[in-house]
């Protein structure tokens, strides 16, 4: 860590730590507050002044998991959609990124530009034709429909991210593998891919995260059978009342996977964000 400012005096340090603490509180409070709320009874939630010390209860989680409006099928939907979207993205994206990063072929620049352009699409531009098309072929409320439209956005993003990782692999590595009689495909598998393992991990995390958190496609193209958790959140809100505690419990469960993923893979995520942002997407 380099400090580019003059070394701070201790009074200033205390103030800075206080500020850092405040920022930490601001950023972390939804999760913390949500967690607390999820263990309260509805009455405790609505109490004013807010109750900090209360008897925790699991009734909300019980209702949300096993009750009439259980979100378990929704968790399942989210899992299926996100997993398939991620898997397909990697299957198509990894070879494509390698080709873009390494190999010479005609119209390479055009292809690169095309991939970049598809990243810039606003989702609403696609949701309308998808809805109309899927409606005609009975593709609404299916896993396939959601997976495919998730793919539209994950794939260019994944390619963009992976290309920079592939470009970091020294060219000589592949040449050595070719000379070692590996052939292009085996060179890719045995030599190149192990070296971009980190990049693939980062990409997987981001793609899964985006697919899991996706809302607009889920709400438009999903239905009763396929309803990811993001949509299921609205089960707990209606015009008459908001089931605060249950909503909190539901939200906690819905966000648990991504929060855990985020916390465990925090370093990877930060690296992925900075690689993407600093290295830039306009290089081709």
């Amino acid at each position: 860590m380099t400090t580019i400012a003059a070394p701070p005096r201790s009074g200033r340090t205390v103030a800075l730590y206080a500020l850092a603490g405040a920022v930490l509180a601001v950023w972390a409070f939804p999760v913390v507050w949500g967690l607390l709320t999820s263990f309260k009874t509805e009455r405790d939630v609505l109490a004013y002044p807010p109750v900090w010390i209360f008897t925790p209860t699991l009734v909300n989680y019980r209702d949300v998991l096993f009750g009439a409006s259980s979100i378990v099928p929704n968790l399942f939907s989210s899992l299926v959609v996100a997993s398939f979207a991620t898997a397909l993205t990697l299957v198509f994206g990894i070879p494509a990124a390698y080709a873009m990063a390494r190999l010479r072929f005609p119209a390479k620049r055009t292809a690169g530009f095309y991939v970049l352009a598809t990243q810039m699409l606003p989702p609403v531009g696609l949701i309308i034709p998808y809805y109309l098309a899927l409606q005609k072929v009975g593709g609404l409320d299916t896993y396939a429909g959601l997976v495919v439209i998730d793919l539209t956005f994950s794939l260019p993003f994944a390619i963009w991210l992976l290309v920079s990782y592939f470009e970091d692999v020294p060219v000589e590595m592949e040449e050595a593998a070719l000379l070692d009689r590996a052939g292009r495909l085996r060179a890719l598998w045995h030599v190149i891919l192990p070296q971009v393992r980190g990049g693939i991990a980062v990409t997987t995390i981001f793609v899964f995260l985006n697919a899991w958190n996706e809302f607009m496609f889920a709400v438009v193209l999903g239905g009763n059978r396929v309803r990811p958790v993001t949509v299921a959140m609205f089960n707990f809100i209606s015009v008459e009342q908001t089931q605060w505690a249950r909503l909190a419990a539901g939200a906690m469960l819905a966000m648990a996977p991504v929060i855990l993923l985020g916390l465990f893979a925090q370093r990877h995520i930060v690296k992925g964000l900075t690689v993407g942002a600093v290295k830039g997407g306009g290089r081709r």
Binding site: E172, M173, E175, A176, L178, L179, D180, R181, Q195
Partner: protein
Amino acid sequence: MNIPIFGGYQEDLWPQAFADTDVELAPASATPNPAKVGSASVRIEGVVKRHGTTTVLHGIDLQIAPGEFFVLLGPSGSGKTTTLRILAGLESVSAGHVYMDGGDVTTKEPGVRDVAMVFQSYALYPHMTVEQNIGFPLKMVGTAKEVIGRSVDRAAAMVGIAHLLQRTPGQLSGGQQQRVALARAIVRQPRLFLLDEPLSNLDAKLRLETRVELKRLQRSLGVTTVYVTHDQEEAMTLADRIAVFMDGRIVQVGSPRQIFAKPLSIDVASFIGSPPMNLLVGEWEGHAVTVGGSTVAVAVESAQSRDVVVGVRPSDLRLADGGLRARVEGVEHLGDNVIVDLVVDERLVKLKTDRAPVLREGEPVFVAFAPEDAHLFDAESGVRIA
């Protein structure tokens, strides 16, 4: 000091500059090692390489005998590495052919040429152990595990890294990494061995030690070797024959001794030798050359007066009572040698001797050389005349 690097070279042709390689190898003949089975002859015919509108190689012709240690020497960008990569199959040719053992391999894939290469950066596979690195080429062609094991052990022993087999490249020093790269190349007993400036990433002392070992290794394996370097000292000590590259062309091919004794152009002359050959402009008539008012004798006669560039090696110059008028600029004491910087005819000239002269800065002196030590080049084309 008489340090025979290769037996058979005579002292007066071997300048002191190379004396720091303080090792005696088994006396070698002036011809390449008798080839072992499986080392290839290589022939390059009329190879041209273009990158878009730029021509990188202007028609290269080479013949390399089996078992020969052949060096491609030249400054950066002269096309030597490109030529090497063409031999490897990593670059295509725009025109011309490459033959190995008589067969046309010009369009063949790198993997099928039975060629091994040591890259400048070593290109080791960082996620594999040393053992896996070395065994990789054998694994790729489906060699049986026990055979791989034995071959890896043998190759590792040959380069002295048998104790490092379980480490990963990241845990090795530069010199050790280089040996792993070597082992990986020799483990499959290729018919052609290519090396791309393999010593340039090592520090000076390690470079000298490794140089010796490389030569020894090549002799014992007997495999045809093509070696690229920009370091003329390396080339002179390692090569059986050298091809000097300049601007995408080969300007001279010959043994180190031949190139040193008779450089065919000013470019080659000023590239080989440390310090490089002194070059002076003058007029040549009869048996004499006039430089800046002074006249010296040369061995070859010219019928008419013509403009020439005279080349004299720093070690062939000596202070004398007559000859070329010079002014002392400075004296550099290098330990075993002394280099005297002089100005002759407004050009900087270096003189190398092992006896420290007593000189003052600015002192006017005379320098002379034996007539047969003069190299004469045409003033316009730079081509050697005599």
